[in-house]
């Protein structure tokens, strides 16, 4: 699983406890994690550092959404893999995410699945770096 231990992952969630636990879990896996509770902080951080993956809660502080952060990340790196973590998504949200090749992971997320998907996305980024072609997997809705 831990193929690329030095991968840098950005995690954005407005709930502090959730954010901390995600960071700890991902750090446990050996990733370098940048954790932010506000979209503005995250967007600013993207300008300062390079990330290999963005995991972002859909609904953020005030009326901000994860899309804003991902859009900002894609501005710097168009091919950066990104996932929205959310409790629920409307059809429109899902369609929008699909269109932008953004993975949706529905909370509550099985941690194994979470880690697996994260690793896969990072791997794909490697592949895409080589082949400059990427594919998004289907949303993982387990009901």
């Amino acid at each position: 699983m831990n193929d690329n231990p030095k991968s840098r992952i950005m995690v954005v969630d407005d709930e502090a406890s959730v954010l901390i636990t995600y960071r700890l879990i991902l750090e446990q896996q050996g990733y370098i994690v940048g954790a932010f509770s506000k979209s503005s902080d995250a967007i600013r951080a993207l300008e300062e550092e390079k990330y290999d993956l963005v995991l972002c809660d859909y609904s953020l502080e005030e009326q901000h959404t994860g899309f804003e952060v991902i859009t900002a990340a894609r501005k710097r790196d168009a091919a950066i893999p990104a996932a929205l973590l959310t409790g629920y998504a409307t059809r429109d949200t899902a369609d929008e995410a699909g269109g932008q090749k953004i993975v949706i992971m529905f909370k509550p997320i099985e941690i194994e699945e979470f880690l697996e998907t994260t690793a896969k996305m990072l791997r794909r980024e490697d592949e895409s770096n080589e082949k400059s072609g990427q594919k998004s997997s289907g949303s993982q809705s387990s009901v």
């Binding site: 969630d13 709930e15 406890s17 959730v18 901390i20 636990t21 995600y22 700890l24 879990i25 446990q28 409790g87 629920y88 998504a89 409307t90 059809r91 529905f106 909370k107 509550p108 997320i109 941690i111 289907g138 949303s139 809705s141 387990s142 009901v143």
Partner: protein, 702 residues
């Protein structure tokens, strides 16, 4: 009178017979026909050359010679004449009633003495005497009180047909008055003898006639099949016919039973007779007698009438008995049948009353028409629409309704259809509104298969339509409610979700640093948290979208769902077999159906831990009409199956076959969604074989 033959005798023989005075010789005549020969002999003996007798037939009016003496045969015929030939001297004398002498006439070339004789007696005959009547023809003729009329020669008392004759004598030369007087005397003498004999012979003839009549009456009486009994005033039997003897005469065969039967019959008859006499004339009563020979009881109707003697006194009773055994039996049967009929009629009446009661309580107007489409029967509700059947309505609305209805029913009556349902718009005066009724008509046929009546029930569908409308509205409301519940659940879940995410993550992070002794507690913490996570996930699944209900292809939804789940199924070693047939669009909430499908597919996958086959099929089922139908989705696995007890409870909330892993909400939500779509959800399962879910969603042809 007994002198019909002509007697022509030779004068020689006649002369030799003469001995003693003429009176004695006339008295010797024992019969009337012996009188004229004696008389003619006496006349010739007095010295007159010829004499003859002519008889008068009152019926034909003919006057014909019946006896003659010394008259040449060829001359006799000339004297025959008729009573109305007034210029004939014989007829003239007869009509005048007085004898007369004629010189040479056209009849005869010698002088003639012509003397008429009529039935006459000096004393009243017996009949007139018994009747105390003076009207005796014989006496009247003898007394010559009035002129004798030929047409009146029948006695008004005894109805005796009298006789009349004419004596014609040829006179010799120089006949004196004295000779004529002697001649007249002897003729009158002969007539007196003749009248007496004639009277006796008349009574003798009457007696003979009566005997014949009695014999005939006896034959008639004997030949009557009904017993006839003639009794005297003391109820003693004078006469009875054979039919009566069967009951009342002691038979030759003297058995005790027979005698007793006859005695009993006589007693019964006697009693009946007495009671009838009390009742008076033409009394009748029923009488049961025992047939002495057959030993059977027979019922008679006895009719009695008194018989009277010539003096008007009652001399007895005639009783005629009519065998009414069969009649009474038939009568009894008739009454029995009548009673049966009455009973049947009562049953029919009760049935009719019951039917009327039903009709009155149907709550829909009912109209019965005859074969000519005329209204013959209306229930009270129909009377509100068409008026009562008896009088033609004066109200313009009722007239219009009737004509509208008649138009409809006559076209139905003459159609070939046995029953028909058609919309019929009729103005209802009670609610002042035009209503579209659902007219349901049927035909009643007679024995020949002709329409005799039509029955129409008018169903007011307004209320029904309103109910249908309400149902649709309620369904929409249910979906709305479900969606609202979903929204609420989602909101709660969402709020719970994040803290739970943190807890879950924290538990994961603690995994390595839990002391040995705390491991069971840690495991409880971990598994229960996972359970809460699943419940939250399930609840979030209830509501993912605020989408509208719209026509969608179910096949597309199936394909979309499978696209997401294919990888999971492959990983679980489940072979997917789909057969999706062309479907009409169904008006559904696509996301909800997607949730239903993913729930059932994942359940199927879970039921096959060692892999298996998953069949997914869809098809279109046509409804009874053209309009409605169903879309059927079948999801069948070859998994472990569910026990019968479990299948009954499987759709209840918090019932799961998956133990700790399941939330027990999946199928409950599935059922809720299908119900909200007015669909049907069926489960069929066999342990060890697999489980089949069938979903039917209604579709309406647009």
């Amino acid at each position: 009178m007994a002198t019909a033959e002509l007697k022509f005798q030779s004068d020689g023989r006649r002369a030799s017979q003469r001995r003693g005075p003429a009176t004695l010789r006339l008295l010797e005549a024992e019969r009337s026909e012996a009188i004229f020969p004696v008389l003619l002999g006496e006349i010739v003996a007095l010295g007159h050359p010829r004499a003859m007798v002519l008889d008068v037939d009152f019926d034909s009016g003919e006057i014909t010679p019946s006896a003659a003496l010394k008259w040449p045969r060829h001359l006799i015929g000339k004297f025959a004449t008729q009573i109305w030939s007034t210029d004939n001297p014989i007829a003239g004398v007869l009509n005048s009633g007085h004898p007369a002498a004629f010189p040479k006439t056209s009849l005869h070339n010698r002088p003639l003495y012509i003397h008429p004789i009529f039935y006459s007696n000096k004393a009243l005959c017996w009949e007139a005497e018994r009747m105390r009547s003076e009207n005796c023809l014989a006496v009247q003729n003898a007394r010559r009180e009035k002129r004798i009329r030929l047409e009146e020669q029948t006695c008004s008392t005894c109805e005796m047909r009298a006789y009349a004759s004419v004596i014609v004598v040829e006179l010799g030369k120089n006949t004196t008055e004295a000779v004529l007087a002697e001649l007249a005397h002897i003729i009158e003498l002969a007539n007196r003898c003749l009248s007496r004999l004639f009277k006796v012979e008349h009574y003798y003839n009457r007696m003979r006639d009566m005997e014949i009549t009695i014999a005939q009456m006896g034959t008639v009486m004997q030949s009557m099949a009904d017993p006839v009994i003639l009794t005297d005033t003391q109820h003693r039997v004078i006469m009875q016919n054979r039919a009566a003897e069967r009951f009342f005469k002691v038979p030759d065969e003297m058995t005790e039973g027979l005698i007793r039967a006859v005695e009993l019959n006589n007693m019964l008859f006697s009693a009946a007779l007495s009671s009838m006499l009390v009742l008076g004339n033409d009394a009748h009563r029923d009488l049961t007698l025992v047939d002495a020979i057959e030993g059977e009881e027979m019922l008679f109707e006895a009719v009695s009438g008194p018989t009277f003697g010539p003096d008007g006194m009652q001399i007895g009773t005639v009783t005629v008995m009519r065998d009414v055994t069969d009649l009474r039996r038939a009568d009894q049967e008739l009454w029995l049948n009548y009673d049966k009929l009455r009973e049947a009629e009562e049953v029919v009446r009760q049935d009719r009353d019951r039917l009327n009661l039903i009709i009155e309580n149907v709550g829909d107007p009912i109209v019965v028409c005859d074969s000519a489409a005329r209204i013959v029967l209306l229930d009270p509700l129909a009377q509100e629409l068409f008026g009562s059947s008896s009088d033609s309505p004066s109200d313009a609305i009722l007239v219009k309704n009737q004509s509208d209805f008649t138009n409809y029913i006559s076209s139905f009556t003459f159609s070939f259809a046995e029953r028909e349902t058609a919309p019929l718009r009729i103005y209802n005066p009670a609610i002042k509104q035009s209503i579209e009724y659902d007219a349901r008509s049927g035909k009643i046929f007679d024995e020949r298969g002709q329409v005799s009546y039509t029955v129409t029930v008018l169903r007011d569908l307004t209320a029904l339509r309103k109910v249908e409308q309400l149902k649709v509205e309620r369904r929409m409301l249910e979906i709305e409610k479900f969606a609202a519940t979903g929204r609420l659940a989602a909101t709660i879940a969402h709020e719970v979700n994040n803290p739970m995410e943190a807890i879950k993550n924290a538990i994961y992070l603690l995994a390595g640093s839990v002391p040995e002794s705390a491991t069971p507690v840690y495991n409880i913490l971990k598994s229960e948290t996972e359970r809460v996570a699943r419940i939250v996930r399930q609840m979030l699944g209830l509501y993912r979208n605020t989408e509208q209900v719209k026509p969608v292809s179910v096949n597309t939804i199936v394909e979309d769902t499978l696209l997401i789940l294919t990888r999971q199924l492959q990983r679980a070693n489940v072979e997917l077999l789909t057969r999706l047939r062309p479907l009409p669009d169904a008006v559904i909430a696509a996301d909800q159906i997607r949730q239903v499908l993913s729930n059932l597919i994942i359940n199927a996958k879970d039921a096959m831990p060692n892999g298996g086959r998953l069949h997914i099929r869809t098809r279109h089922l046509h409804g009874k009409d053209e309009l409605h139908g169903w879309v059927q989705i079948i999801i069948a696995d070859t998994g472990t199956g569910i026990s019968a007890e479990m299948t009954r409870a499987i759709f209840e909330p918090f019932v799961t076959t998956k133990g700790e892993k399941g939330t027990g909400l999946g199928l409950w939500i599935v059922k809720g969604i299908i119900q909200n779509h007015a669909g049907k959800l069926l489960i069929r399962s066999r342990m060890g074989k697999g489980t089949v879910f069938r979903i039917d969603l209604p579709v309406v042809k647009s």
